[in-house]
């Protein structure tokens, strides 16, 4: 079985985000970029399936600017076997929408015929939480989102999902789409020898035209603004003062 893992290049999760002064978006020029943390979990899970003998090949795919090569090299250094980059944007500020991403991934699926797709549940830039579900709709496959655990049982995947009230376990027919939640695993760091080896692993470049997909956005960004600031608070010296303040506010 092949496992397909889509990975996205996003602003590093430790970087403080700054809104551009013209309100067109968030400033991404000269900012540290990394693999979306949920996608790292997806890569790790796919590699573990391979190590457990349940998958033969792990293919990482990224869609975006050419610099996403670096993100794919990271996936290869972690243990993915090969990579596909679909160059769909020239400007780092252009986000390819989940619907277009799902259409491109559908194209990759038609060509590669994986048994499983493991994707991050959301990207920490647009926070949409949509690509996996959209891909499942386009393929007609089952989806198991917010995975806390994943087990392969013959031609089914058994997934415990993180839901509002706790955990829900479902069994989905493969091929299927699984999206990762935080507790699925702890991704490994790539070792230096593996980083060197990753440079020699195959990385194929494609374009949206290769898959006949129009990636023009459906959403027009009207403006991007800083969130409202909270008024400065105060430090209180002890519990008695705190209790008095809360009573004054009428919240206890």
């Amino acid at each position: 079985m092949k496992v397909l893992v889509p990975v996205k290049r996003v602003i590093d999760y430790n970087v403080k985000v700054r809104v551009k002064s013209d309100g067109t978006g968030v400033d991404l020029a000269n900012v540290k970029m990394s693999m979306n943390p949920f996608d790292e979990i997806a890569v790790e899970e796919a590699i573990r399936l391979k190590e457990a003998g349940k998958a033969e090949e792990v293919i990482a795919v990224s869609i975006g600017v050419k610099q996403a090569q670096e993100t794919l090299r990271t996936a290869l250094a972690m243990g993915a076997d090969r990579a596909i980059l679909i160059v769909a944007a020239d400007d780092v500020h252009q986000d390819i929408e989940p619907l277009a991403v799902a259409k491109l991934l559908k194209g990759v699926i038609d060509a590669e015929e994986p048994g499983l797709v493991i994707a991050g549940k959301q990207a920490i830039d647009n926070d949409l939480n949509a690509t996996g579900q959209m891909l499942a709709a386009l393929t007609g496959w089952a989806q198991a989102t917010n995975a806390n655990t994943l087990d392969i049982d013959g031609d089914h995947a058994v997934v415990a999902r993180e839901v509002d009230g706790g955990l829900q376990t479902i069994k989905v027919k493969m091929p299927a789409i699984v999206t990762t939640d935080l507790r699925l695993n702890e991704p490994r760091y790539a070792s230096l020898p593996n980083i060197m080896k990753a440079k020699k692993k195959p990385l194929e470049e494609k374009t949206p035209e290769d898959y006949g997909v129009d990636v023009s956005p459906r959403l027009e960004v009207v403006k991007t603004a800083e969130p409202p600031e909270r008024a400065a608070g105060e430090m209180v010296p002890d519990v008695d003062t705190l209790v008095a303040k809360l009573k004054e506010k009428g919240v206890v």
């Binding site: 999760y13 403080k16 809104v19 968030v26 929408e97 989940p98 619907l99 549940k121 959301q122 920490i124 830039d125 647009n126 926070d127 939480n129 690509t131 579900q133 959209m134 499942a136 709709a137 007609g140 089952a142 989806q143 198991a144 989102t145 917010n146 806390n148 999902r161 993180e162 839901v163 509002d164 009230g165 706790g166 955990l167 376990t169 479902i170 069994k171 989905v172 935080l182 507790r183 459906r218 959403l219 960004v221 009207v222 991007t224 603004a225 800083e226 909270r230 608070g233 105060e234 430090m235 010296p237 002890d238 519990v239 008695d240 705190l242 209790v243 809360l246 506010k249 919240v251 206890v252």
Partner: protein, 308 residues
């Protein structure tokens, strides 16, 4: 044109808070038709019919919708979407699972966690863990949205909309439910509680979380946790507040032993009053707190529990 709004229903019971807030968010767009879907949904449908602003309730009761598996539920919503310009649901884990699938079936984009409905095509939503607010205009013929309920007040009740039965849609039959492990709790629900007490890594262990829980129980509050506390196994995943967990905006939020990573702040910074208790006076949580208290939580929190 009317709005189709998928009610939040768990095991046959309507989640009134989430559903009524979503109704309030979109009532400016037209008549709201609520879809009550589940193995049991009739009671929930009748209850939803009382929400102000609801013009009609559609009820789809069928065993295949019992655990709201995404594939059959999305197929139903997509089938019903024909007569609507807007397809909406509160942004619960259920709806976040289902609505993006609906959108792709309709070949339109989805907008999740909408915090403001500007007009029929234009919506505001947070990006980058709430570090920026983006207003976007959709060019799609149909808009599929999930509503971040913490930013809206619930619509009132007292209405009496008509209730109609709709047929089930074809079931793709590619998934089956196995089991639920849901926490049994007498505490209020995290996303609708008036007071939330949350613990972080500083709490130190699952046993120590009792300190946080005692304060919560004294206040009649829900208990939350930071990602660090959940990842460390101190608290269950459904307590997580933050960018990828639950978003809350209670009247009072008490953060105990939470440093205040931006991912956590994304889930609670709209709370009306924020209290932070932390031994590290440099903790970023103090920058968003209305009242900060530097001290050992194992002394401060029991004292607060006693005196409040």
């Amino acid at each position: 044109m009317a709005v189709l709004l998928m009610a939040e229903i768990n095991d046959g019971a309507l989640s009134m808070d989430a559903t009524a807030k979503a109704v309030a968010a979109v009532s400016s767009l037209g008549d709201v038709h609520v879809l009550a879907v589940g193995a049991k949904a009739a009671d929930a449908a009748n209850e939803a019919a009382t929400i102000d602003g609801v013009a009609k309730v559609l009820v789809a009761e069928d065993a295949r919708y019992g655990h709201r598996l995404a594939e059959p539920t999305a197929a139903l919503v997509a089938k019903l979407a024909e007569g609507y310009d807007h397809i909406v649901a509160p942004a619960t884990t259920d709806a976040k699972n289902i609505l993006p699938r609906v959108a792709a079936l309709l070949d339109v984009m989805v907008l999740t966690d909408v915090t403001n409905v500007v007009d029929a095509d234009t919506f505001e939503r947070p990006i980058y863990a709430g570090n920026a607010m983006q207003t976007v205009k959709s060019k799609d013929a149909k808009k599929v949205l999930t509503i971040r309920t913490s930013t809206f007040d619930a619509a009132g009740t007292g209405g009496s909309a008509s209730v109609e039965t709709v047929d089930a849609a074809d079931d793709p039959a590619v998934s089956e439910w196995v089991e639920d492990k849901l926490a049994e709790s007498d505490r209020p629900e995290l996303t609708s509680a008036g007071i939330v007490v949350s613990g972080g890594r500083g709490v130190g262990s699952e046993e120590n979380f009792a300190v946080v829980e005692k304060l919560a129980d004294k206040l009649g509050a829900a208990v939350g946790a930071s990602r660090a506390a959940v990842d460390s196994g101190f608290a269950p995943n459904d307590w997580q507040v933050g960018q990828t967990g639950k978003v809350v905006a209670p009247d009072l939020y008490i953060a105990v032993g939470i440093s205040g990573a931006i991912q956590h702040l994304a889930g609670m910074k709209d709370s009306k009053v924020i209290v932070a208790i932390n031994k590290d006076e440099e903790a970023p949580i103090f920058q968003v707190a209305d009242y900060g208290l530097v001290g050992d939580l194992f002394e401060v929190v029991p004292e607060l529990t006693e005196k409040v």
